[in-house]
Symmetry: C2
């Protein structure tokens, strides 16, 4: 089989004519499919409904430490919730603060507080002329939105299957004092589903930043979100807090996690894990910001999941639902695009996304063409800071919400659009 690049102009034109017919057929189906956001499906949400039975009007709402969770108090979360979130992150409870319903808010607050009050006694970022963040790309749009909101300059760092380009990270961080942070999704990264290698984690822990207040924003959003039950198909990651400690950089990382994609999106429990030095500063500000987060929901979660094994068992149910979704997409991509030379894609062992690399300059056009046929993709560019994908090639595919048959249909449309747009681009190049 020839790649599209190897086809003659005539071959491309004839293929294009056929594909255009197929595209008109697809449009005629009046599809309305959405692969744009990492939203849980209704079936997945239904799996967690028993959580509403663990508390009732007769329940004793006393925490293991004797706290009435219905009343004020306990700034940093009840102990059993700390324990559970610590297990999810692979740390111990004394490193944890449990927050409200979602980790995005915790990350926002971490940046906001650094802007207004600085990090661990250092100059507030709002008093500095320039603050920069490193952004492994492609990455998570909502991370980039936070740093953009606060006027922080974002520098792209290419991702590899082992994690961000650490040569570049080490060099930039050690040379430029205005670089104050880096956004990381270290396990089943958004959108590629890559997991940082042990070497990458160790190189992170051993960074020698020019800025004393440099922090790694370690968004461990998918730590238990495996697609496969077999251990050998489950990615593992080194625990960053202890690696930083070993490396003499105990304060260098803020780790974030939540149950948003374990229990319910937006009604879960979020947490931060970090050094005691950081915790002390964070709690000082937190004590001004709140009397405490929702401890009832914290207790509800612990009573439902019981412990980390309970979480893992629950996530195996999610995996059973999720696998066919990912596979439905991957099957179509493989069948239709393997060997064509017009696209590459990731085959993750977990997480919420598949990342697709189209030919340079094609992503926006593909997304627009999909839209024409009723298939919504994440806006092209969204996986890059400022919404600007310099190569206009990355497309994030979110398999989590639709059913497998819908995903197969949507991916049929997607590959059609990839082919058509790629041919147009190749013809353009031949003409030019």
């Amino acid at each position: 089989m020839k790649t599209y690049q190897e086809l003659s102009k005539e071959e491309l034109l004839s293929l294009k004519a056929q594909l255009e017919k197929d595209f008109e057929d697809a449009k005629g189906k009046g599809l309305k499919l959405d692969m744009s956001r990492g939203k849980p499906s209704v079936a997945q949400l239904d799996m967690g409904m028993d959580i509403f039975d663990v508390l009732n009007s007769g329940s004793d709402l006393t925490s293991m430490e004797g706290v009435d969770v219905r009343n004020y108090g306990v700034l940093d979360g009840i102990l059993e919730a700390k324990n559970l979130m610590a297990d999810i992150m692979g740390v111990t409870a004394e490193h944890v603060i449990v927050y409200g319903n979602a980790s995005l808010n915790v990350m926002f607050d971490a940046v906001s507080s650094a802007v207004t009050h600085g990090v661990m006694g250092n100059t507030p970022w709002c008093k500095l002329d320039k603050v920069k963040f490193l952004c492994p790309v492609p990455g998570y749009d909502r991370h980039f939105a936070i740093t953009q909101h606060f006027g922080i300059e974002m520098i792209n760092v290419p991702m590899t299957p082992q994690g961000p380009d650490m040569d570049m990270v080490e060099k930039l961080v050690s040379q430029d004092e205005s670089i104050k942070g880096i956004w990381c999704v270290p396990k089943y990264s958004n959108p590629q589903g890559y997991t940082y290698s042990d070497e990458t984690v160790r190189r992170f822990a051993n960074l020698k930043p020019a800025a004393k207040d440099f922090r790694i924003f370690w968004d461990n959003a998918y730590s238990v979100h495996h697609l496969y039950d077999e251990e050998e198909r489950q990615d593992r990651i080194l625990e960053i807090l202890s690696e930083c400690e070993k490396a003499g950089n105990p304060d260098m990382v803020y780790e974030f996690a939540s149950t948003s994609k374990i229990s319910f999106s937006g009604a879960g429990v979020a947490a931060i894990a970090t050094s005691k030095g950081n915790l002390e500063y964070i709690k000082k500000a937190l004590a001004i910001q709140t009397i405490g987060h929702d401890k009832i929901n914290q207790l509800r979660h612990v009573r439902y999941f019981k412990n980390f094994d309970g979480v893992k068992a629950h996530m195996r149910k999610h995996a059973a639902l999720m696998r066919p979704k990912f596979e439905a997409i991957l099957d179509v991509l493989e069948r239709e695009l393997d060997g064509t030379g017009i696209g590459q894609w990731t085959k993750p062992n977990g997480g919420y996304f598949i990342s697709f690399e189209a030919m340079e300059g094609c992503a926006k056009a593909i997304a627009a063409k999909c839209k024409e046929a009723g298939v919504t993709l994440t806006g092209a560019g969204a996986t890059y800071p400022y919404g600007k994908d310099p190569k206009d090639s990355n497309i994030r595919i979110a398999p989590t919400y639709p059913a497998p048959d819908e995903l197969a249909l949507a991916t049929d449309v997607f590959v059609l659009c990839v082919k058509l747009v790629s041919i147009e681009k190749l013809l353009e190049n031949k003409t030019a």
Copy 2:
């Protein structure tokens, strides 16, 4: 009966000798009573337990607008929650954003966002040399803590039974562009239980601030927290948003409310009500900060209370529990201190506090003496910015947590301490 001021030195000394014996007796009882914080009692929390039965594993978790509240989405709250919170504040739903578990956090964020991004397009406060807030005193310590945290200078404004001294507010606000806000608890104020008069509300609405980004931080925390069922003993307040609109100042107020003291403290639902102009700006930042607040808890609240009448019925139960607590304290104060000239106190129709004014220079000593005998009061000074009560005379009494008989006991100790400390002060003055 003579006031203490009218007693001779000998009379004071003889009274003191007797009171010191009583105080030793009180100490001997080994009391451990806390009137320091506005925490709901266990019995009050128990009244809301049925809320845990409204959602179970078989519930349909679809909002009235068809939103699956278990999933992501809906930045500003589900419509039924907006309606309920709007009713509680006396406004309409289109003015409301529903937030997470507590309004303190909403107020913090409002200030924080003004500091980093400014108010409705105006210069961020962090870029200004000086930002000031007016603080009606005595007031709520956690308000003052927020402004202090952000380095905002606080200016005391005396409270009257009709609200803050509006002559002073009008003068300061119109002359000084660096005054950007004022903290108000307009109904059943913390700690005095005063409710702003119609004239006060109208004068607020008609302020002519020098600063375009001046905002009234209207913490309507106790809007439905009456102590009495009789309408004539329930304070009413003019609705500030519509008054500001009428006065041509539609954007001048942020109103805050929550169900923290209706359902559960720290596991309630909070909200802001403000103009559409403000909402637009707030939502822009909110969209960066969160994907949405806990909609399940919003729905739980609405299904439990059903509507505003449900809230009012629930609050009548609270009132039945709360009345004897307030009365237990007021009875002792009246019996022991009426006519003594050494203290004045408020007799609120609602809210969470009684405010006590001791003789100048006595509050700290009274709190310390109470502590000696096992009775904890709110730290003297806490009701003033920077913890500094210039007259050292205000003491906030929180009747909500202990039982009435405990409150009577605690107040016995309190009046004993008031008498002793006052006598010492009077003797000091006679000597000096």
